[in-house]
Amino acid sequence: MHDFGYHRPASVADVAGLLASKGEAKVVAGGMTLIPTLKQRLASPSDLVDLAGIAELKGVKAEGGGITIGAMTTHAEVHRSAEVQKTIPALAQLAGGIGDPQVRNRGTIGGSVANSDPAADYPAAVLGLGATIRTNKREIKADDFFKGMFETALQDGEIITAIHFPKPEKAGYSKFPNPASRYAIVGVFVARTAGGVRAAVTGAGPCAFRSKELESALGGSFTPEAAKAVKLGADGFNTDLHATAAYRAHLISVMAARAVAAAS
């Protein structure tokens, strides 16, 4: 990788200052995507601003019946959190299946969501649960957040500080991992909430998205059979070495059925 300046500010306010003053600065959270990218010389920031020193970005707390997770909380911490396991067990389970144990010890929820990798797990939960993304500037609804492949509603200098998840009645997540990278080929997060059923899909499109077809079927009957009966066309889904669009379309129904079966 190319060399860069390194900064570890102690507060969110300092982050904004650094990002404003350094021309080509990038924020690093857990670094699980950014550092491999830098190693491949696919990005060459002038400076790295490390969020690891900011205490206020860490931790899980109960809030308004749901839970709020600080942006720098690692996947392992979410997975093991008694609070998350009690309130939204599907979220704890999802966090425990991201990457591998070492990635879960470093990777953070804020980093994952801000990156909007098309095959990442968290975006499915954020969308599926109708979470709210809190930044240093505002609050953004999940439905307004994911804009495309590696594209979000975040503006320059805006960083995620926390994500608030309302408690669903029931939720489940199931993913079909890429056999090599273990990213999701298809991951489906389903949730039955007071406001209706939400079903979010990752891995299949340019970024996580909600499936109206699944939501409508599961709204009628929140059962694996209803999910499995949904037949999606292949149009618009990703094709790569490991999965065709048609296969992904099929897996969405299968994973949705498994997510519903596992939902608690």
Binding site: F176, P179, A180, L241, H242, Y247, L251, V254
Partner: protein, 791 residues
């Protein structure tokens, strides 16, 4: 058997250093004043190099030198084996310079060598090299490479053909086909694989101006071979001025046999710059430069009589060599492949044609099994298909055609003479261990859970311990294939064993120590095994082809024979007895019919302190070297049975049982032997279900260029394995060992694919190609003639 003797599962001597981080791999070696190399590689599969401007790189911080093909003034990398085509013409052998001169021929080809104070600086500078390429169309496809009108990799190789070779009796084969009751035909691809030893290749070149000696530390399975090839053919450095050290090596699986450009470059540049130079591959470079494996496209036909007795086999294969000829590449699809097409069967007539082609891809060479997995896969898929077509039981068709245990030595129609084996015994063992008989009830039970269960079998043979030198020489080998072993008994009775083989995971430091300690009757702690340094070991051919114990171990035994013979003479002198009356057992020399005895240690001391010694008849000292040239190949074989369960919803294949019963000859350390089988089977499962090296057919870019896309088996992909040995002894080496390193990778892939096809057979699916990924299995189910019954 003693606790540390032959046949005991002795814990490995080498483990302590590996477990505590004290191993010394090549990248762990740092020489005083060391600089670092980065190699700029071609981004194109095929292009002319129009111009290279290195000026900006030369002045980049920390840069010591930048070299291009124009600066390189030494020889090219040689091929170690020459194959002749049907018409008698020698294979096309293109030049292979470590730095490309005027054309690049695959993505990753070496374009420039940058030496700098740090690796990061070398890499930074390489970004400043401006190369002007004129892109050319590339040929990637194995099957299409020899078609007219395709892009040509080498002007000399018309239609990209390196050689067009054949083996066997064509007329007899045709005659047998003419009278066949039934002919089963199959088309198969044995896909390209990336060996991916966990340690990336590395090389450190050093030059001593005081002595004029070059030293290369390298990740090699055979340092003497590298010294010979690099010294004699590439850099013209005489052996006495070139030391090659292969220290701890993190796996090889064939990929570290060959002489690579980077080894020559760091040695050459170290001599020019008078600085030690280290190069270490990044994994993405390994994908683009380590020799890859397999890559065959084949058509085969099996002629049978009405009872399913095999009458004849004909095979036509196209084998991809990549853009150049790697060290042993030419022999892999010929003498390591077609010679195995008899398998364990009595097929009387066989004819095989093999066309080797060049493409704009990374070179292909031996990878665990090398030729034999391809032969076994072809044969065992074909036999299964024949059984289905003949409506015969898969086991019975095999038994009916087995070479019987009484038939050895058995001469096959494809050059080899098998020395021993008992194929019914390994088959019976595997059928029992896998509960083959109870399978249908397990299939029915799985079906109730909505799963498709299948079982598959493979009965295989391989030829390893490759030799004898005179024979391989007549077949085109440009080297001998003996091995060297040396025993140095020290004055106090401890022993250092020098072997020309190389251990990179196989545990030679333990197995060979067991062999020596057992034979000489001394403590295993008194035996040290030394390997991997041309300045320590008299000579060696290295480790590949499952040869280390069968050939290297035999050399050690021969050296021990000499030690014991000399020691008996010393002991006879000490006991005032006739040599003919001296016996040696359990570390003690005795005189038959007396109570006289002398321990081994006393004899050792006497040899070095020869005060009471037959000095006029015998030299002092106790050190002997032997070279062992085998009389034949060895022929491990056995039976692998795989049971799978398919999830029709996702196409995922889960291996629920894997059984291997192998005949590997004499077993010195069962724990290590089992570990070798586990590892080989894991690579076989990788080939059958997970791994595939894929290039873009147009651009020649490697699409599976990292571990993000190339699927290596992980712990949760694999089952526990049931492994056992059921051995007959090799009849022609002093140990009786056959070899075990490759059996797992050879025997397993067809068992797995046969199981997947068996699972899918209720749907009418007859074929699936490797790797049987979830996508492929799902697609096969979608397009199956019969749909799954509604659950």
């Amino acid at each position: 058997m003693t606790a540390t003797g032959i046949g005991a599962s002795v814990k490995r001597k080498e483990d302590f250093r590996f477990l505590t981080g004290r191993g010394t791999y090549t990248d762990d070696i740092n020489r005083p004043g060391q600089s670092h190399a980065y190699i700029l590689r071609s981004p194109h599969a095929h292009a002319e190099i129009v111009k290279i401007d290195t000026a900006a790189a030369q002045s980049s911080p920390g840069v010591i030198a930048v070299f291009t093909g124009a600066d390189y003034d030494k020889g090219g990398l040689p091929a170690g084996w020459q194959i002749h085509s049907k018409d008698g013409s020698p294979m096309v052998e293109p030049p292979h310079f470590p730095l490309c001169k005027d054309r690049v021929r695959h993505v990753g080809d070496q374009v420039a060598l940058v030496i700098a104070e740090t690796y990061a600086e070398a890499k930074d500078a390489a970004e400043k090299i401006d190369v002007t390429y004129k892109e050319l169309p590339a040929i990637i496809s194995t099957a299409d490479a020899d078609k007219p009108g395709k892009p040509q990799v080498w002007a000399d190789a018309k239609n990209n053909v390196c050689y067009d070779w054949h083996l066997g009796d064509k007329a007899a084969t045709e005659a047998a086909f003419a009278k066949a009751h039934h002919v089963t035909k199959i088309d198969l691809v044995n896909q390209r694989l990336v060996p991916n030893a966990m340690e990336p290749r590395a090389a450190v070149g050093d030059y001593d101006r005081a002595t004029g000696e070059y030293t290369l530390y390298t990740t090699s399975q055979n340092p003497h071979v590298i010294r010979l090839l690099m010294g004699a053919f590439v850099l013209q450095i005489p052996e006495h001025k070139l030391r090659v050290v292969a220290p701890d090596v993190g796996g090889g699986f064939g990929s570290k046999i060959f002489h690579y450009a980077e080894e020559a470059l760091v040695t050459w540049a170290a001599g020019k710059l008078h600085r030690p130079i280290k190069w270490t591959a990044e994994r993405s470079e390994s994908f683009l430069t380590d020799a890859q494996g397999r890559d065959h496209v084949s058509h085969a036909e099996l002629a049978m009589d009405k009872d399913g007795k095999f009458l004849a086999l004909r095979v036509s294969t196209i084998a991809n060599m990549g853009a150049y000829l790697s060290t042993f590449a030419p022999c892999v699809p010929t003498y390591l492949y077609a010679t195995l097409l008899a398998g364990v069967y009595t097929t009387p007539a066989i004819y095989a044609e093999v066309k080797a082609v060049f493409t704009n891809t990374v070179v292909v060479d031996a990878y665990r099994g090398a030729g034999r997995p391809e032969a076994t896969y072809l044969l065992e898929r074909l036999v299964d298909k024949a059984a289905r077509e003949m409506k015969m039981d898969r086991v019975e068709i095999r038994r009916k055609n087995f070479i019987s245990r009484e038939a050895f030595p058995y001469q096959t129609p494809v050059a080899l003479q098998y020395d021993s084996g008992d194929y019914d015994a390994t088959l019976d063992g595997a059928l029992k261990a896998s509960d083959w008989a109870g399978f249908e009830s397990r299939r029915a039970e799985a079906r109730k859970r909505g799963k498709l269960r299948g079982i598959g079998i493979s009965t295989y043979i391989e030829a390893c311990g490759i030799a004898p030198s005179a024979v391989v020489g007549s077949l085109g080998a440009r080297a001998g294939l003996y091995e060297c072993g040396s025993i140095r008994v020290h004055p106090t009775g401890s022993v250092t064993v020098f072997t020309g083989t190389h251990s990179h995971g196989q545990g030679h430091e333990t197995t060979f120590a067991q062999l020596v300690s057992d034979t000489l009757g001394i403590s295993i702690d008194s035996v040290e095994v030394s390997h991997g340094d041309t300045n320590k070991i008299p000579f060696g051919m290295g480790t590949y082809g499952s040869r280390s114990l069968a050939v290297g171990g035999s050399a050690i035994v021969k050296a021990m024979d000499k030690i014991i013979a000399k020691a008996k003479r010393i002991a006879a002198h000490l006991m005032e007895a006739s040599v003919a009356d001296v016996e040696f057992k359990n570390g003690t020399f005795t005189v038959a019919g007396t109570d006289k005895s002398v321990p081994f240690g006393t004899v050792a001391l006497t040899a070095y302190v020869p005060h009471n010694y037959p000095i006029t008849e015998l030299e002092p000292g106790l050190e002997e070297t032997a070279f062992y040239d085998p009389l034949n190949f060895t022929y491990p074989g056995g039976c692998h049975i795989c049971e799978v369960e398919l999830d029709p919803d996702t196409g995922v294949t889960k291996i629920v049982n894997f059984t291997a019963v192998d005949d590997v000859g004499r077993v010195i350390n069962p724990m290590i032997v089992e570990g070798q089988v586990h590892g080989g089977v894991a690579q076989g499962i990788g080939q059958a279900l997970l791994e595939s090296c894929v290039y873009d057919e147009q651009s020649g870019q490697l699409l599976t260029g990292s571990l993000m896309d190339y699927c290596m088996p992980r712990a949760d992909d694999l089952p526990n394995f049931k492994v056992a040995t059921q051995s007959t002894m090799c009849t022609h080496n002093p140990i009786g060992a056959k070899g075990v390193g490759e059996v797992g990778a050879i025997g397993s892939p067809p068992a797995i694919i046969n199981a997947v096809i068996d699972a899918l057979s209720p749907l009418g699916v007859q074929d699936i190609s490797m790797p049987a990924t979830p996508l492929k299995v799902w697609q096969a189910i979608q397009s199956a003639p019969a749909k799954m019954a509604a659950e």
